[in-house]
Structure formats: C-alpha cells, structure tokens
C-alpha cells in the first residue's frame, strides 16, 4: 500500500533540489550526469510501479525505454513530425508494448514472469538491431529536441535541458504517486498481496496487470524519448537486456516499493559509477560488490532502509506513549 508520507515528500524534494543545484553549480559534465540521473530515475520509477507495487519484476523495461526513444526518433527524423507529436508517439509506443506484455504474461509468476518479459524485450531488441530502415546497429543520428521557446526555455542549453529533465522527474513521480494512491493503485497492491483473493472478489486481475504495465510502459517510453533528445542519437544499445538489469539494480539500490528509492538509486548508481570509473577500469566489480552488500544488508536499499528506520522509531515512540 502506498502512502505519500512526510519523509517521502522531504527526500524527493531534497533530491530534486540537490540535482538542480548540482546542475546549476557544476560544470558541463555535471549537467550531463544530472540528465542521465533524471532519465534513469524516471525509468526506475516506472519499473518500481509494476515491480514494487504490482509484484511484476520485469526484465523488459530497457526495451520499453528503447522503444520510447526509437518512437520519438523515428517520428521526428524519418517521418518528419514535430517533436511534440513525436514525444506522444514515443510514449504511446511504450504504453502499447507495455500493455501487450502485461496482458500476455499475466498468468506467469516469479522467475517465469521475469523470463517471459526478458523474451519479449529481447525480441524487440533483435528486430530493431536488424531493421536496416531504422539504421540497424548503427542507430539513428540527428534526433531533435523539443522546442519550448514559447515558454522561454531553450533545450539546446545543457543547463536548461538538465532543469527540464529534473522537472520531468518531479512530474512523473507525482503522477506515479497519484496513481498508486487511487483506487486502481490500491487494487494493484491488493493483487500483489493476494491474487487469489482479488480474483475471488471478482477483480479482473489480468486487466489490472495489463493496465499497470501500460502505464508503466508509458513512463518508461517517456524516459526513453527524453534520453533520445539528450543524446540526439538512438541505437539498439539502449535496449539490451542489461539495461533492464541496470534499471532493476537502481530500484534495489534505492529501495524497491518505495517510489522515492528508485530516484535515489539512480543518483547513487550514476555518481558512484562516475567516481569509480575515474579511478579504475574495473568498476563493474565494485558495482557488483555494492549490489551484493546491499542485498545482504537486508535488501531494503538506501532509501528503503532510511524509511524503515524512521518508521520503526515512530512505532517505538507510539508504543511508549
């Protein structure tokens, strides 16, 4: 069950403000990092919605991310649509694919669900990789950015793009929180807790799962469209299964089923990787060890652990009172 608690509000606002400050005060590369953090945080939040609250651990979110990017890039470059419409195309593509995967896999659970999503994701990857009309493995260059000059925002500037990405992250978080607090979100959590009972109550389980996946897909697609505008280039590399794995790692590092955790995890992973990569070429190993230690330490993740401690203290206080 999701509650927008005080600590959630405080941490997400602090994180957004911290990112904005880092972008404003840091150099050029700091802004690149902030944009990467914001896009990956959106992807991780979309994953946390289905994995943390719906119990559907997906290994195809990287592909949805890539589909969103390709949807945007193809619409904007090959079809010549204005970037605003292309953005809609990217989001729609993510939602469609997500909804389809959610609908077909609604009966599988556990490792079978993970593998089924992996299979669908890999199919998309292979098809795009082989699609010469879309540039094949070379990818598509020349992807434009949204034109927000009417609002006085110039997305060609790295600082303004970084601030724009942070704003997007805030909006997506608010949307996800809104959905999870709604009746739909509560039913989703109910299915996660006891699917048989929800079924017995007459809830059309597969429909809920498909809708949740579609919504999550829309968000992941949006993250992809954002990433495509950031790099102004898309390639199949964006949708390899390890990208899905990385999204999962981010969710775990921050704290699954907390919604704030994924955003914290994205900042943690990107900054950590950046710092370690400047010291050694063997940063994979360090990330691997951090991941193992995180899980061994209880698996709550950085933010999850914080939330857990705050709640435990509050309950103790209540017991004393």
């Amino acid at each position: 069950m999701f509650h927008q608690t005080g600590i959630k509000t405080a941490v997400i606002l602090a994180l957004l403000a911290g990112l904005a400050a880092y972008a404003a005060l840091g150099g050029y590369f700091a802004r690149e990092l902030v944009i990467e953090i914001a896009t990956l945080a959106i992807l991780a939040i979309s994953l946390d919605m289905v994995a943390g609250y719906g119990g559907m651990v997906s290994l195809c979110h990287g592909s949805i991310f890539g589909l969103g990017a390709y949807g945007f890039a193809v619409a904007a470059t090959l079809l010549g649509l204005p970037p605003g419409l292309a953005l809609v195309a990217g989001i729609a593509l993510g939602a469609l694919f997500g909804g389809a995967v959610g609908a077909v896999t609604s009966r599988a659970r556990g490792i079978f669900f993970i593998m089924a999503t992996l299979a669908f994701g890999q199919m998309v990857y292979v098809l795009i990789f082989d699609a010469r009309a879309l540039g094949g493995d070379d990818g598509l260059p020349g992807v434009p950015r949204l034109d927000l000059s009417a609002l006085g925002v110039d997305l060609q500037s790295s600082l303004q793009f970084a601030l724009f990405a942070i704003a997007c992250l805030g909006l997506v978080y608010a949307l996800a929180a809104f959905v999870l607090r709604s009746g739909f979100g509560r039913t989703l959590c109910g299915i996660h807790a006891n699917e048989a009972r929800m079924r017995a109550l007459g809830v059309p389980v597969w429909q809920y799962k498909a809708n949740a996946f579609a919504l999550s897909g829309a968000m992941a697609g949006f993250a992809g469209a954002l990433a495509a505008q950031h790099t102004m280039f898309v390639s199949p590399e964006m949708m390899v299964w390890t990208v899905s794995g990385e999204a999962l790692v981010i969710v775990i590092l921050g704290g699954m089923g907390t919604l704030v955790g994924p955003a914290v995890g994205a900042a943690l992973l990107i900054l950590l990787r950046h710092e370690i990569a400047s010291l050694t070429n063997h940063w994979h190993m360090v990330i691997g060890i951090v991941l193992i230690v995180t899980v061994l330490a209880g698996g709550r993740g950085l933010y999850g652990q914080l939330e857990h401690m705050v709640q435990a203290r509050r309950e103790r206080a209540k017991a004393h009172a």
């Binding site: 077909v104 669908f120 999962l248 063997h282 994979h284 193992i292 698996g299």
Partner: protein
Amino acid sequence: MLADPSTWIVQGLNGLQLSMLLFLLSVGLTVIFGLLHFVNLAHGALYALGAYAGVSAVWMLGSYWAAFVLAPAAVALAGTVLYLGLIRRMRRSGPMNQVLVTFGLIFVFLDIFRIVWGDIALGIDAPAFLSGPVEVLGVAYPAYRLFIIALGAAVMAGLGLVLSRTQIGAMIRAGVDNDRMAACLGLNVERIFFVVFCVGCALAGLAGVVAAPVFSVTPDMGTQILIPTLIVVVIGGLGSLKGAVAGSLIVGFTQTFGAVLAPQLAAVAVYALLAGILIFRPAGLFPARG
C-alpha cells in the same frame, strides 16, 4: 542443396551437439533451482570459469585431459566457497534478492576474468586424436563434436540413473518434492543441498572446459550463454531432469535449424518460442511440481 540427405544429417548432429552443451549447463541450474529454490544467474560465470581454468591447466600441464578433470574440480571448489559464503544465507531470502546477488556476482566474475586472464580472447586445442573430422553415417563430422554429444548423453544417462535408482537420488527427489517434509523424515537436507550445488557447479565447469576448444574463451562468454541456458530451463520447467533434456533439445534444434532455414529470423526464433510456451504453459513444459 536442401534435398541432399547428408546436409540434414550434419545439421542434425550440429543440433544435437549444441543441445548437449546446453544440457550440461542447464541441468545443474535447474536441479539447484528445484531443490534449493535458488535462482543462480552466476551459473554462466561458472561456465566461463571452467573454460578459463581449462585454459590455465592446458598452459601449465600441456594436456587437455588434465584440464578436463581439473576444470570441473576447480569450479566445484569455487562453488563450495560461494555456497558457504553466500548462497546458504541467501536461500530463504526470495527470488528477487537471489537474482540480484547473483547478478552482482556476474559483474565480480567478469572483472576477475579480465584481471587474471586479460581482455584478449583465448583458446585451447582439442586433443589431437579428436581434432579432425571422422566418417559417421556416411558424412564427415568433427570428432570432437561427436565427443561432446557422447559426453552429454552419458551425463544424461548417469544423472537419470542416479536420480531414479539410487538412495541419494530418492533423497533428492524427496527434497525437490517437499524439502520440509524430507527434513522431517530425518534426511540431512542441508548436506544434500550442498552436494547438489557443487555437482551443478562442476557440470557448469565441465561444459566450460568442453566448450573451450570449440568456442573462444572471453570474459563475457558466460553472459552470452546465460540467456540461452535460462531459456532452456524455463521452457523445460524448473527443477526437472526431463525438462532440462526437453528444453535443451528444443532450443538446440531451434537455433540450428533456424540458422539454416530462416537466417533472418534465427535470432528471434528462440525468444518467440520461449514467449509462446510461457503464454500457454506459464510454468514450462515439465514442471517438477504439479
């Protein structure tokens, strides 16, 4: 060309060879899952470790057969360390956490391979008397590939016998069926778990050293083979020997004949197969439990 029967015989053998290699890899993974309920994504890394240990053994001792014996032993040893240090305490912590810890292990192994054996792809030669082609069923076929087929079949038969006819086999089956009940009946479940885990690792190592003369030995070879192996396990149904056999044959032959008949679709074929099976049989073809 496609009417020529000898081509079909060779392609059939190719499919069988790939299937046997996949079987060696997936049987350990699936039995470990069935018994310990443990999802080990690092199984592919253990396969790579087997290949690298084999390379080192050949370099030091100059004999493929020494490597053939030592590499599985080395991987079983690594498995022991992993089991005692990590796996045992992860057993009760849910599939999600297991997936993540072993995902982390993949990263760790990847860099260990790079540090110890370097970034450049390595290779070893098949033993001299198995290196050339031999005449079989009227066609010339690499002797070493026939050796892989024979080895896979032997392991398959051996495991089948052990599981169905011996006391330890009965214990393992009881454990897969219901580990708590088996423990209540006085079986030392912990020890069975440990043994099965090590044997599974040794088989992954065996697959690695057997594959080394055919493929190249690279740090990411384990990651590459992981997904086909998982597909085998999931198609077959987790935890069953029958499932591993069926899954390996299905995937091996789909890949081989997909490559021949529809090269454009070969890369998608296996994923489409997996997706299709999971839609209609969400627990695989031969799940170990009802």
